[in-house]
């Protein structure tokens, strides 16, 4: 079972999500930009991706498009996170949208829904 991939250029968010998910018994991987995210996914297929909209090097929509063109990644659920207005991103082919800031409950609900069986402990 692959990790939950957290993609965000804000170090604090990455560290918080990683910590909370690891506390819950999930394996995690992190990436701080879109290119790094695709590299991580090609190395190991994740069970779920938390993807920020605005990222350096390659932004969230570009990562989503690349995933949709990749047969191995096409079906991986993606939660798109953003502090920008929903009208900018609500039509993108993500599985869920998570406006920032969000709460721990919302995060864990989504993880349970899309990667509930991926707990390693």
């Amino acid at each position: 079972m692959g990790p939950i991939l957290i993609v965000d250029d804000e170090f604090g968010i990455v560290e918080a999500l990683e910590g909370f998910l690891q506390d819950e018994g999930y394996r995690t991987a992190i990436a701080l930009n879109g290119r790094q995210a695709l590299d991580r996914m090609s190395a190991e297929r994740p069970v779920l991706v938390f993807l920020d909209y605005m990222l350096p090097v390659m932004n969230g929509p570009a990562v989503l498009a690349a995933m949709k063109n990749d047969a191995n990644l096409r079906e991986v659920p993606v939660v798109l996170m953003s502090a920008s207005p929903p009208r900018l991103w609500k039509d993108l082919p993500a599985t869920e949208f998570l406006p920032k800031p969000f709460g721990l409950e919302q995060l864990l609900d989504l993880v349970q829904r899309y990667a509930g069986g991926a707990k390693v402990k």
Partner: protein, 499 residues
């Protein structure tokens, strides 16, 4: 789409009197705030007071210290304060030392501990006491910034409002100051032999707040903040209540001089030397209102309530029935170490909460002595006057002249007379071999008035104002010259006066 939480405007009240006024309701929920101050500034008391209020309101709080001091010692010191409730510990309010975790595992171990403990305690308020220890252990400034950033992300996700207590490690602006949502600075300053505690909100994201320095004190009940009166009223009192007409003194001669009294919502200065009758005149005014069912309050600096009762009774002014009825109230603040804004808070409460309609502040000079920044006196008074106008409260205050006799007469404070619609001038005057009291109306804005001088009589029948004085010269200098009036016998002069 998942709904956005928490709301950016949702507040966490501090429960500290005055502080929520400064913060316009409290901290923003989920925000991270830094409370800075040197040891003894009051940070720990402030944070604990916020914690106990928070748990009384149904929240859960976690107090984590990074200092070597034990919680037992801190709790022992807090026990005497009114807000402390042992029964809240540890279910609602948990204390935790992270000193050894920080020492052994650094910032990474600390952030892991905080994340797990916040979740385990379901804390909605976190206090991190001794942030300077985390700063000292951080290998680089960047590492410390990352720690703050991670803490913000974690507390934001669990909607936990956070207070970081620190000495600040110096006066300059530091990176972490720019990262947090708000910055509160506590300090103690000395003015001569007086020590004054001050609180400043340097930064408060996402909300307005009352800027500048505000005084606070640590009482048996905990911290009480006194927002600057001019800051509070400047924000709120923009409208003026329409006047409902004249307010009488109940002294016929004087009410005649004023063509029926002073206007409701106006401010009147009773100016004169010691012993000229200012206090008794003010008492007459509020007692007259109280007899008519208007709540009057006497705010005294020099006379205790018992002394006021006795003195009034000795001149036939019975306050007791009015006090019992509740239409008259007295307060006494001896002019020792009063703080101007503490007095301001009391006056504001009388006007806004207690429904006072006639307010008599006896001793403007005591207000002046309570100020540590002298230029504030006139601004404070302007704020009080505006507040009274807005609430339709008729204000009287006394101002003592510095000289008892003489031709030269100066107002001891600049910028105050122009705030007053009305000025009544009282004077003791030497008339041959006796001292007599006289009164005149220097100013009665928006109304005509009697420009004559009249004699003021105080006897066991109360205060009376005589007929206009004719032909006398320099009476109000305190040194009268010969005149037909002064040669006439006293009985004739009083004939036909008010009552």
């Amino acid at each position: 789409m998942i709904e956005k939480t928490p709301s950016q405007t949702e507040r966490v009240p501090t429960g500290i009197p005055g502080l929520d006024t400064l913060l316009q309701g409290g901290f923003v929920k989920g925000g991270v705030y830094m409370v800075m101050g040197m040891p003894g500034a009051g940070k720990t008391i402030l944070a604990n007071q916020v914690c106990f209020h928070h748990v009384r309101e149904g929240g859960k709080a976690l107090y984590v210290t990074l200092l070597a001091e034990s919680h037992t010692r801190m709790i022992a010191n807090l026990r005497s304060l009114g807000f402390f409730e042992l029964a809240r510990i540890p279910e609602s309010l948990a204390y935790l030392s992270a000193y050894s975790v920080l020492e052994e595992g650094g910032l990474e171990a600390l952030i892991n501990l905080l994340r797990k403990e916040l979740k385990a305690h379901e804390a909605s308020l976190l206090i991190l006491d001794g942030l300077v220890a985390a700063e000292e252990i951080a290998p680089t400034e960047r590492a410390f910034k990352k720690f703050i950033h991670a803490l913000q992300a974690i507390t934001g996700m669990v909607s936990c409002t956070t207070l970081l207590l620190t000495t600040g490690g110096g006066q300059g602006l530091k990176a972490e100051h720019t990262m947090v949502d708000g910055l509160l600075v506590l300090r103690e300053r000395t003015f001569g032999v007086r020590a004054v505690r001050e609180l400043t909100i340097r930064k408060f994201r996402g909300s307005g707040h009352l800027r500048g320095q505000h005084s606070f004190e640590i009482t048996d009940s905990g911290i009480v903040v006194h927002p600057r009166l001019e800051a509070v009223t400047g924000n709120q009192s923009s409208t003026e209540m329409p006047s409902e007409g004249r307010k009488t003194f109940g002294i016929k001669g004087l009410d005649d001089m004023l063509h029926g009294g002073v206007f409701q919502g106006s401010t009147t200065m009773l100016f004169g030397p010691s012993g000229s009758g200012k206090s008794l005149l003010g008492l007459h005014f509020i007692a007259e209102g109280a007899r008519r069912g208007e709540h009057g309050h006497y705010f005294a600096f020099y006379d205790s309530p018992q002394r006021v009762r006795d003195q009034s009774a000795s001149v036939g002014l019975e306050l007791e029935p009015l006090l019992k009825k509740g239409t008259l109230s007295l307060s006494f603040r001896p002019p020792m170490e009063n703080r101007l804004d503490a007095l301001g808070s009391e006056l504001l409460s009388l006007i806004r909460e207690k429904g006072v309609q006639r307010l008599f502040v006896d001793g403007f000079d005591a207000l002046s002595k309570a100020v540590v920044h002298p230029p504030r006196v006139s601004r404070f008074m302007a704020a009080l006057v505006n507040e009274c106008r807005a609430a339709g409260v008729t204000l009287l205050f006394t101002l003592e002249s510095q000289t008892l006799f003489g031709l030269e007469l100066k107002l001891p404070v600049r910028g105050v007379s122009m705030l007053c619609e009305n000025i009544l001038f009282l004077r003791n005057s030497e008339v041959r071999t006796e001292l007599r009291r006289f009164i005149s109306v220097l100013k009665l804005r928006t109304s005509g008035h009697d420009h004559s001088l009249r004699e003021l009589h105080i006897s066991n029948r109360g205060m009376e104002v005589g007929d206009p004085v004719a032909d006398a010269q320099l009476l109000m200098s305190g040194l009268s010259l010969e005149s037909p009036l002064l040669r006439s016998p006293r009985k004739r002069r009083l004939k036909g006066r008010g009552r």
